[in-house]
Symmetry: C2
Subunit: 455 residues, 2 copies
């Protein structure tokens, strides 16, 4: 979905209760929040940044309607002067962010928002909701495309993504990281992604005989027919596909492919290829689908199985082996004062930051998380975070999906293959700059003495 108009209330209640407390205590100083993952999900050696465009459009459009205000009034929690303030609120802050399609790693700030504390706080829920989802699925899809080693991957997840919004975003980010097409027609229209798909089992079973269904489809789509051959018996289905392919040849057409959606794909693909080749149909492609994920795609590819393309749905669309991250949006600066929290296992890095990416030749070599103010272009490293919003307005032109796709392809090609392994990947080196480490240590020491009674 595009971002709907009326999303002021798309937030956790505590964002609004905190906002009222800030309001009533005259706390309007600028705050900076930082979005990051503490740990990469299991078996991930990298993640792919995604979701920023939706965040920026949300921030530009943020407002509370009179209906929203009436609802909040009815809860009995909020004071009239605060609700007046809320009814006029717009987002007026700055956003720094890693562009969509770039790689990021644990603890690196993906998005940093600086705005009067109420504004910066209120937008937490939406920002995490979108960047978490889109980065998670982009990462899963990147793994799948990598596992396919140049064979085509098509995104088929719409029916089992978690709802409508996820279905749209999954198609978007899967294309961004190299899938060739999506089955999602609305995503095709909205995002300009190539669309793909031909027939389901129901089409086959709606005819008295399997071969009749094949013939009917071939007549309707002489240039785009992929026959689904596993409804009753896959190898028999392949033989019927041969019959239909020859009938198509007689009319000057070519059968584009066959699809196998169940059974032992590795073995069946060899058998089906043999049937097709024996019949002199080397051009008919084999598309494999049915509950695939990147691990199974890798197995099929490594076995040398003659699948030309993979339709990958559910597991990619929900990031099945890692459906969540620990992505968090934390206050790092308030009123000019860098802050952090010490919560067990959830400590944070203070202050506004930048990420410097160093290469050796073209290869990515290591990253340094630094204070934004210390980060200087020394010509050796690239700054990952750009200022993408200023005073509540998007800066410059947003990149197209095609540009993000190119950016991803270039950078991913330069990441060490060990970091791309599907299981037990190498850890990409990420360091903290000395000024950042010193600042964190100083604040921690001060907090320990003040708040824990241990000083």
């Amino acid at each position: 979905m595009a971002v709907p108009e009326d999303l002021g209330l798309f937030t956790d209640l505590y964002e609004l209760t905190m906002a009222q407390a800030y309001f009533q205590h005259g706390m309007f100083a600028p705050a900076t929040f930082s979005l990051f993952v503490r740990r990469l999900p299991p078996n991930r050696g990298y993640m792919v940044a995604a979701g920023l465009e939706d965040v920026l459009r949300f921030l530009e459009g943020l407002r509370f309607t009179s209906g929203d205000i009436d609802y909040l009034h009815g809860t009995g929690l909020f004071a009239g002067d605060f609700l007046d303030y809320l009814s006029k609120l717009r987002f007026t802050g700055d956003v720094w962010a890693i562009p969509e399609g770039r790689l990021f790693f644990a603890n690196e700030p993906l998005v940093e928002v600086t705005a009067p504390v109420i504004e910066a706080q209120l937008v937490e829920t939406f920002i995490i909701n979108q960047v978490n989802l889109q980065s998670l699925i982009a990462t899963k899809a990147a793994r799948t495309v990598w596992a396919a080693k140049g064979r085509s991957v098509v995104e088929f997840g719409l029916r089992r993504t978690h709802g409508m919004d996820a279905g749209m975003k999954a198609a978007r980010v899967a294309y961004m990281v190299g899938c060739d097409a999506t089955s999602n027609v609305l995503a095709g229209r909205r995002y300009g992604i190539p669309i793909s798909g031909t027939m389901a089992h129901s089409f086959v079973t709606s005819f008295d005989r399997e071969i009749d269904s094949f013939r009917a489809f071939a007549r309707s789509f002489p240039k785009n027919t992929v026959l689904l051959i596993d409804t009753y018996d896959t190898v028999e289905g392949a033989r019927k596909a041969v019959t239909v392919a020859r009938e198509m040849e007689a009319l000057g057409h070519r059968l584009a492919g066959v699809r196998i959606d169940s059974g032992d794909l590795k073995a069946l693909a060899f058998e089906v290829r043999w049937v097709l080749d024996e019949a002199g149909l080397p051009y008919v492609r084999i598309l494999a689908s049915g509950g695939l994920d990147e691990y199974q795609v890798a197995e099929v590819v490594e076995a040398g199985s003659p699948c030309d393309a993979f339709g990958v749905g559910t597991q990619m669309g929900v990031s099945g082996d890692a459906p969540s991250t620990d992505m968090a949006y934390k206050l790092v600066k308030y009123g000019g004062r860098p802050v952090l929290k010490l919560s067990t296992g959830k400590a944070t890095l203070p202050d506004e930051k930048q990420v410097l990416r160093y290469r050796e030749g073209r290869k990515l070599h290591h990253d340094v998380i630094a204070l934004r103010q210390e980060a200087q272009d020394d010509g050796r490293a690239e700054d990952l975070l750009d200022r993408v919003m200023h005073d509540g307005r998007i800066q410059g032109r947003l990149p197209s999906l095609a540009e993000m796709r190119d950016r991803f392809r270039e950078e991913f090609a330069c990441l060490d293959e060990g970091c791309k392994r599907l299981a037990g990947p190498d850890t990409y080196p990420v360091e903290l700059s000395r000024p950042l480490r010193d600042l964190a240590a100083r604040i921690q020491q001060q907090l320990s003495s003040e708040e824990q009674g241990t000083g």
Copy 2:
């Protein structure tokens, strides 16, 4: 999200290519499709039906805009007469379904759609997308509420659900199965669900001293303050909460609770309870949160830990241990002829069906999946599927969320506890009626001889 207007293209491309092939071959006979899961997800002894209301509203509103038609024309796949037909298409069929909030088991038809084959086929993607998501999260939330054994559970998942739509639906179905409130303000407004939430770590860290943040919040919300006490040191935080609670008492107010969001919840809750009780504050409740799922809630409850309520977010919102099902929508009848497919591991049950639920006393005893035509009210069993749509119009009044919640509570109380176990649950007995088994066997035999060349 409510169902947006323009969802005709929210579908997989193959639904539209099949539709054109049906159109061009004059296939407009009624078809029945059946929605079901083949296997319950791991560790599930039951699932909870959900998502029907969105499906029915989608079906009533289904149409293709002129913009949709233009887009489809531009793909080069579709013929003009078919696109004309599509531009006028409305859903005119019947829907039978298990009401939301009821329990269902493997292979039981949740929704059966009968309509001219093009209409019945086109709506597949949306139906699976919504019923799969909502049933999955409803089931996960039911497990969590069950694990809490009467302690309160509040839904906190919005930031890490998969997108906006999932965030709304998660709040909806979590409330349906017994969660007491949601943090999602928009869901509060849209669905009338109680909303809950007070402060985040950022509120604490935006003040120079933790206790200042507690005091500020208590002044703004003298009746609704839950203090987050783990930002620096949980037990020290509890002592500061005591100070503030006494200050509140002096003004005639009471601190509602404290929240612990990290660390060893079991141990910390005992320590915090001790601090509060020692201070004469037995009424201050302890809310636990931070990456909880039903397994951890059960552990905390079984340890007798004095947590009064649980805030459960990510894991419930994405059904972390089982983020997908194998839910499928399969053709079971076309033009009066019952059909099935034989695909390895994916065989289907033919024809229109009904599910009969037998009780022994109040306890659920077993279900029988039967042909709809054979199912007769014999006074001993209850028919689970109602006709909820006729000729494309919703039949009767849709139940309210409160009614679904009551229905779930009643039926779930009658399910054997062994089926509710979080791991290794008992299997609830589901039988196939003899006429259904006979029909399936007859069609299978016929297909084997015709399509597999083995007859």
